[in-house]
């Protein structure tokens, strides 16, 4: 990997990090367990590694943004997650922020083209 590739990869990961949180919160307005959430996001075009998504769910739950419960489904115990009340509020704020940033970036790009 060249130095330029390295820089790109680091910037890409930085860019994705915040977006993934937003995507996960958005998707968890509906209840999912880890694997089905990963599939749902992949179907929408957002591939996330297991080693990124599952710990992220834990962190968001520890921050109080997600609520979870163990439940049996298809003869297997699974941990289901969904957005908590605090999570919904913060998701709304983050969404506004993201839309504003997105609009600004689009305007900047269109301006300079």
């Amino acid at each position: 990997m060249t130095a330029t590739d390295n820089i790109f990869e680091n910037l890409r990961l930085e860019l994705r990090r915040g977006c993934l949180t937003l995507a996960v919160l958005a998707q968890l307005r509906q209840e999912y367990y880890g694997y089905t959430l990963r599939k749902a996001l992949a179907d929408l075009g957002l591939e996330i590694d297991e080693s990124t998504l599952y710990p992220l769910l834990r962190r968001l739950e520890a921050q109080g943004l997600l609520a979870s419960e163990w439940r049996e489904e298809e003869k297997r115990n699974k941990r289901f997650y969904r957005l908590s009340a605090d999570g919904e509020q913060i998701f709304g704020q983050l969404l506004e922020e993201w839309q504003a940033i997105n609009a600004s970036i689009n305007a900047t790009i269109n301006n300079t083209l």
């Binding site: 367990y33 297991e50 080693s51 599952y54």
Partner: protein
């Protein structure tokens, strides 16, 4: 699936013990669902090779477990600038205090012996490492406290944060020389060199060969010896070296190493003339004397006179050059101050 169980067991070993069962149960449920989907897609169980590939793609057990750990630092970014600042001060003051204490210990027993000085120098790295270790340990404990108490540690922000724009040092530009300001590494290197120069000077009385090389043996066997003025000259140079070292250390401690004040240089230039004045004002220019004047005066009197005249002339030339340089620098300083004053009006 045996391979999956073995994999999860390996991951479990690296997880925080309070949550490992919970995390492994969840991870197992997720991975088993994924495996079922894969097998359903293929319409058959995975072969050993495919299972191996799949598990490998999940990542090494340590990496997977690490993602569940909170980010940990020995000294985190919040307090690192303070740590670095304190570390610099601590190592600097350790060197200064250690040097003073060692000098007092060595010279309280009479004139320095070279071995004692060398031993003191060789003990310095140990003292510095101990200082660095203590500072690091204390900051690691603070970091642990901050991480585990979730407190806002306002006092732990670097002192630089408690600033006011009015206290900022005046802007320094050097358009004439265009020189880059001295880096911290350069300033430290200069202080270290100054320190070793001092050590070298202190070794001279006990081990003249460090100055004269094989000439020390010749001097020992010759009828001549250095006169008492040379000891005064020597201690003057030592005092200058200590003064210079102290000043450099002060610059480092105050954070003013980038652009040392011109006044410092001028003071050093003037004080640097004192040892030369000592040499020049010795009665009869008797810098070198005979070991046994009563016996050797007739035989070596002329040679002695030639040597002393030579020393006097060399000292005089150096003195004149240094004096001219000092006067020129003072004139430049005066012109610069005048221009600033006129510019301000």
């Amino acid at each position: 699936m045996d391979l999956l169980d073995r994999y999860l067991q390996a991951v479990k070993k690296h997880l925080p013990w309070q949550r490992q069962d919970d995390i492994i149960a969840e991870l197992k449920a997720n991975l088993e669902s994924q495996l079922e989907d894969k097998e359903a897609e293929l319409g058959r169980p995975l072969t050993a090779l495919e299972a191996d590939e799949w598990i490998k793609q999940l990542g090494s057990p340590i990496q997977v477990a690490a993602a569940y750990q909170p980010q940990r630092y020995l000294i985190g970014p919040a307090i690192f600038p303070t740590y670095w600042y304190v570390l610099r001060l601590a190592t600097l003051w350790c060197t200064v205090i250690y040097s003073i204490v060692s000098a007092v210990q060595i010279f309280s027993g009479g004139i320095a012996n070279g071995n004692e000085v060398l031993e003191a120098v060789l003990r310095l790295p140990g003292a510095l490492i101990t200082t660095v270790a203590w500072v690091t340990l204390i900051f690691a404990v603070i970091e642990y406290g901050i991480t585990h108490s979730q407190t806002k540690w306002v006092p732990m922000v670097p002192p630089a944060v408690a600033w006011s724009p009015g206290n900022l040092p005046s802007f320094v530009k050097d358009p004439v020389t265009g020189k880059k300001p001295r880096s911290f590494a350069q300033a430290v290197a200069e202080a270290v060199v100054e320190f070793f120069l001092l050590v070298w000077l202190l070794l001279i009385p006990g081990h003249p060969w460090v100055l004269l090389g094989p000439g020390a043996l010749y001097l020992q066997g010759s009828p001549f010896q250095l006169g008492p003025v040379f000891m005064q000259f020597f201690w003057c140079v030592v005092a200058l070296s200590v003064f210079q070292l102290g000043w450099r250390c002060l610059d480092l401690a105050r954070g003013t190493w980038q652009n040392p004040r011109q006044a410092q240089k001028n003071v050093m230039q003037v004080v640097g003339l004192i040892p030369l004045v000592l040499l020049l004002t010795v009665p009869n220019h008797a810098a070198v004397v005979l070991k046994h004047p009563a016996l050797d005066q007739v035989r070596y009197g002329v040679t002695l006179n030639t040597i002393n005249q030579g020393i006097y002339r060399v000292a005089l030339i150096i003195f004149v050059i240094a004096l001219i340089q000092t006067i020129v620098d003072f004139v430049k300083l005066g012109i610069s101050a005048y221009r600033k004053r006129v510019g301000a009006i």
